[in-house]
Symmetry: C2
Subunit: 734 residues, 2 copies
């Protein structure tokens, strides 16, 4: 005790004499800690992934150092020169900072120092950015919006932390006074709306400000970052962690923004853990940070995220955010399945966790990552619907994504109960994602295009029912955010994955209820995706169920009337104005089949049970698009007009292969001969009759009160059947 | 001498006693010889590519042997069940035959024997195929056309040759009498038109019949195969070798059919070489077989063949025909560059040559294959135009394909002087290829679609001038086959690849002359594809120059008037009826720029010098296509109406990168600020002025009489310039 006290006395004395030097021993201590540095210095001498990554980074940074230092006066919006230059600058500062710590070569610290000094000259007199959105409350100074400025800070504060030991106190003071403190001030008390907002922009601002608090020894900033500017806990990082993710780690804007949101969460969490392990940030809310990382991985197929809501479709698990997330999660958990993902990412981070990943990949410790069938509950309490993922490896690698999820705020789409289907590496039943060309100046400055509102968000742009040519919630975002579907059933066994959900608020007076199931027939090695979409309305309505597909139409079992010389937009508004109507057909009562050939060389047939009053409309995207902003994607819409009660019954069947390179074509025709849909009390039946006479019969109990213990009996085709629980698949051979 | 005579005496005696046994010692001796077998038997005991391929083949054949033997009565057209089964049968017989020779396991020979006996039961009573084309002179019996029957024979005769030692004489006689002799008879004297035709169908028939001649010891068949049924040399294999390839090894139907045609050429040539080396078949016509193989490789980009004329676009160098071709060429020449192609093909043949390839790949003897800039002369005497390929590796991997080639018979397109451009692995300025879904029954039985005639062959479907909305030669194939462009210039140096060609027979009274060049600017690491298209007409004409592109339109430097609610077909006929007119623009005199983003993530800007009277029409394919047979591809058409003399001047510039996965966008805007086109006497000038003021000035002497020794001087921008030879690139810095 006395010794500790004495030590503390000395410590305090030093602080009093030279406050800046005292904390020098603690640098770096954000994502990378001083002990990480020791391990990293050792690792670069040993051949392996880490050394390779180090050499590559050094080569790249050395090349970048040959270019002159440029800190331009901000002028351009996203994608423009000054925007990109400031992005390059923070990336270079961060990378050079890391190299300084690993190599101790002063040239790396010198460039960071000079750049920070240049920013410290520029920043104090900067006005708001000239390209800020007029009237918006989120302007930046270096960038057009404060979000980018906060990202800049998250990188730059780490760079500063990494090179702080190389600075004189005078230099440090100049940088802190001229740059870091003003940026922090601007992004915290100067941007209260965004800082306190429970939203990913807020996470970036609180992460930057909180990390600056650790580095500049300003505990008050850390407190504000964690708990809101007024420290009430109404906003701030902890609130964001409690609210923005569901208990299953699902981020309510969808996978694309979940991936983006992850970066400041994992970065700041790691910094908190290094600086204040006593906070137990990784245990917070039953380990929500780790769940969020894992769920981000789960929401991908063949390396790419499910493109739900506003999403750019080429984003996948190799994104830098998830590389960091996987490294941090591996550092924390040591779960060898994460190494499988890290191997696919094929990027080694120069951090302590990155080193662990690299060494354990070198030692071949990875195990196959297991993608699960799971209903990811939505909403902070997990009771606002769910995003359902049903998967199987069955003569291919199928995923069926069902979206009875909540709206997900401003980036959400009006697509309740929509679905997507993936098979053999490809997206088969598609989601348009966002209408945006990221950072392409000529395309609306690289921001979301007007067509994101007029098309991509609209109901008809998705694979779900639109009523009377309007969109869900009548496109009222506020209303949409307050309503959500209910998940009624989610059941998984070897042969069946099935989920039921409904919503009665998407349209006044209308209840939408959908059953989606993946079932498989081991005999024929066939998978079927079953879709039963029930609509009940207060009065006769026009019901449209689109199916957006990837590929080329091959055949229909009914006559098509093509519009050949001249085509028109299908409708006037709510996305319909963007669809060219290319052909229509009205199949007779019975089975209606549409076959297309997807880019993965496989055939897909959608078989529907129709009533003679259902029209099929074949469309192509691109009407009312004078600037060629939309991709020319294809869909067919099942339209049932004047219906009060209607069930769309259909089955999607992957089959065959088209291989012109090897010159063979297999099974280009569907093997589905008939569908039977029956409701027998609580038991609902969907029978798929194959060309060979065999029947796949899906039976499920549609009463939400049913349990795994419920005993069900029913008659079908004159025979008695029984099963326990919620669902069963019967295979009837003839 | 006496000893030899005595030996011969014994030999003759044996022949007399048992004629069928005598030749048994010579089996196999077609593509695979008895000495190959010895080497192969040794090689399968040693780890390496050959053993791996052997094990894979054995596994596949063993699995196939578990299925029952099925020789169905012919019923279906291409893609249908019986068609595919007979294809599977000949492939299985060939593979099992090879395995029999390598392993000496009688089970392989037994299946081939049983299958041949089943065919011998079936064949004699077969009528012409029920799905033959009515009225056509090429029906088959097992297949709908004799072509497939000949392919069947080429495989089957090899299988028979391989297992002949395992047969009793009675079995052999039954197979020869019931099957092989009738098939040969049907395909030779029974199909004289096709057998004698100097065309790839004829090559398959002569190859099958000739090889059967070697195996069944019928020298007469060999003679007929080589020299026409009447042995006049007017038809037959040698005539085909002399006529179907140009002196540069270019096959006049284009790369897709060159690849296909190769199979019987190399197969039969190898069999001739093994049986009658004294014929020197590989030296025939200055080594035309080897040239044909090499040219097939040269006519590819990133592994895929240039899709000229009727071509299915996924066909590439890994096609089985070229795997065999490369193996045979390597066996003959030992050229280590061929191993590079073999490595990309990644398929090891179980033949003697395949063994050499496998062993030398195992020994890492390959050297990089060199793709060349070359004018491949067309026509049997090399004087019927050329297919010009200009290549460079310059900040990417560019290929410019220019097509002043001859028509190329029935699979040729009406696309004189068309071009294509490739960059960074992708087709940028595109050719539609064929309108066909190979073997997809629902798409016109898997044959060429009607749209192959109405769209794919038409001039407007290509990147060349169409006059008055009609196609070259007015779609008259006979006339087209008798006329061809003239190649006027082909020059290659480090910075310039340039070619000039013209034609005055595509339209009466109209001369078309085109200059295409690839030039590069090392300073900015930029490549430009320069296009000068001169049209001289007898009277005012409507001139359309389409550019078909891969990607999404990003921007135009001029106002577009989009047709938004309603679009119509651009024209009535000659392919125009298939184009939707989506927007039009009439740029002011000066520079008109169109920028698109290609699927390879790179931007491309076409900068044109326009005269204020040129309209740009933006189209999408798909009008008058009630069965959805066409792909929805994009183009823009420069239209100059009422012109007697006009030059379309344009420059294509690849630039920047769009990388939404990594979230960056570079140089989305063109750096071309202006174009200047001048003619100073014989010297033609095209200057590209960049945003930074620098100028790339291409000067070339357009007088066909000019040589490498010609001295040229000209004035440009007030300064004097001089160069020797045909072309030079001047870089003028400001």
């Amino acid at each position: 005790m006395p010794a500790a006290g004495a030590a503390l006395g000395i410590f305090a004395a030093i602080v009093a004499i030279n406050p800046l030097v005292v904390f020098a021993a603690e640098h770096p201590n954000l994502v990378i800690s001083a002990s990480d540095i020791d391990a990293m210095r050792g690792a670069i001498t040993i051949p392996g992934r880490f050394r390779t990554a180090f050499l590559a980074s050094r080569t790249a940074v050395d090349r970048a150092l040959q270019a002159p230092l440029v800190v331009p006066v901000p002028a351009d919006a996203g994608g423009g020169y000054t925007h990109e230059q400031h992005k390059k600058n923070y990336q270079l500062m961060y990378n050079a900072g890391v190299l300084y710590q690993i190599t101790e070569d002063p040239k790396y610290a010198a460039r960071v120092r000079d750049m920070l000094l240049a920013y410290a000259e520029l920043y104090p007199d900067l006005p708001l950015h000239p390209k800020r959105r007029p009237g918006a409350n989120n302007p930046g100074k270096l960038f057009w919006q404060s979000l980018n400025e906060a990202v800049w800070l998250v990188y730059t504060i780490q760079a500063y932390d990494l090179i702080r030991p190389a600075l004189t106190d005078q230099e440090a003071e100049k940088i802190e006074r001229g740059l870091l403190r003003p940026v922090v001030k601007f992004l915290s008390v100067g941007s209260p709306d965004t800082f306190n907002k429970v939203h990913n922009h807020g996470t970036w601002l609180t992460a930057g400000v909180g990390m600056a608090g650790y580095v500049l020894d300003e505990p008050e900033w850390v407190e504000q970052a964690l708990l809101d500017l007024d420290k009430s806990g109404k906003g701030g990082f902890l609130r964001q962690l409690s609210t923005l993710f569901s208990p299953d780690g699902y981020y309510n804007e969808g996978p694309y923004y979940q991936r983006y949101a992850l970066m400041p969460f994992v970065t700041f969490a790691k910094a908190i853990d290094n600086n204040q392990p006593e906070r137990g940030i990784f245990e917070y809310r039953d380990g929500i940070v780790m769940k969020a990382i894992d769920t981000t991985i789960q929401l991908s197929y063949n390396g790419l995220f499910f493109p739900l809501n506003d999403a750019i479709k080429s984003k996948g698990i190799d994104t830098s955010e998830l590389v960091l997330g996987v490294a941090i999660a591996y550092g924390e958990t040591g779960n060898p399945q994460l190494l499988d993902i890290a191997a696919q990412q094929d990027q080694v981070l120069l951090t302590g966790d990155g080193l662990k990943v690299a060494q354990d990949l070198d030692a071949r410790k990875q195990q196959p990552y297991r993608f699960k069938s799971m209903a990811f509950r939505d909403g902070k309490d997990g009771n606002e619907g769910a995003l359902v993922v049903m998967r199987q490896q069955f003569s291919g690698d199928q995923a069926l994504v069902f979206k009875p999820a909540a709206q997900g705020m401003g980036h959400g789409h009006f697509d309740k109960l929509s679905w997507q289907f993936y098979d053999r590496g490809a997206e088969i039943v598609t989601d348009y994602g966002a209408a945006r060309f990221l950072n392409v100046e000529a395309k609306n400055g690289g921001r979301y295009l007007p067509e994101n509102e007029t098309w991509a968000k609209q109901t008809v742009a998705h694979n779900t029912v639109a009523v009377d040519e309007t969109s869900h919630f009548d496109n009222d975002l506020g209303f949409a955010n307050r309503h959500h579907p209910q998940l009624q059933l989610f059941h998984v066994d070897e042969q069946i994955k099935i989920s039921v959900a409904d919503i009665d608020s998407a349209y006044p007076g209308v209840t939408l209820s959908r059953t989606l199931a993946l079932v498989n027939d081991p005999q024929s090695q066939t998978t079927y995706a079953i879709d039963l979409f029930d609509v009940t309305a207060d009065k006769p309505r026009k019901l449209d169920l689109p199916l957006h597909y990837n590929g080329q139409l091959v055949d229909t079992s009914f006559e098509l009337r093509g519009f050949t010389d001249r085509i028109s937009a299908l409708g006037e508004d709510n996305g319909y104005q963007h669809l060219w109507l290319k052909a229509r057909g009205k199949p007779d009562s019975g089975l209606a089949q549409v076959t297309w050939l997807s880019d993965n060389g496989r055939f897909y047939t959608q078989s529907s049970l129709v009533d003679g009053k259902t029209e099929l409309l074949f469309t192509e995207l691109g009407a009312n698009d004078p600037h060629f902003n939309l991709r020319a994607e294809k869909s067919f819409i099942a339209r049932r007009d004047n219906a009060r009660e209607h069930t769309f019954v259909s089955v999607l069947e992957p089959h065959g292969e088209y291989n012109p390179a090897r010159e063979f074509t297999l099974q280009a025709e569907s093997r589905v001969k008939g569908l039977i849909h029956e409701v027998v009390g609580d038991v609902r039946l969907l029978a798929i009759e194959r060309q060979n006479g065999n029947i796949q019969l899906l039976a499920f109990n549609s009463n939400p009160a049913a349990t795994q213990a419920t005993e069900n009996t029913f008659k079908f085709g004159g025979a008695e059947y029984a099963f326990s629980g919620r669902a069963k698949l019967f295979q009837i051979s003839h």
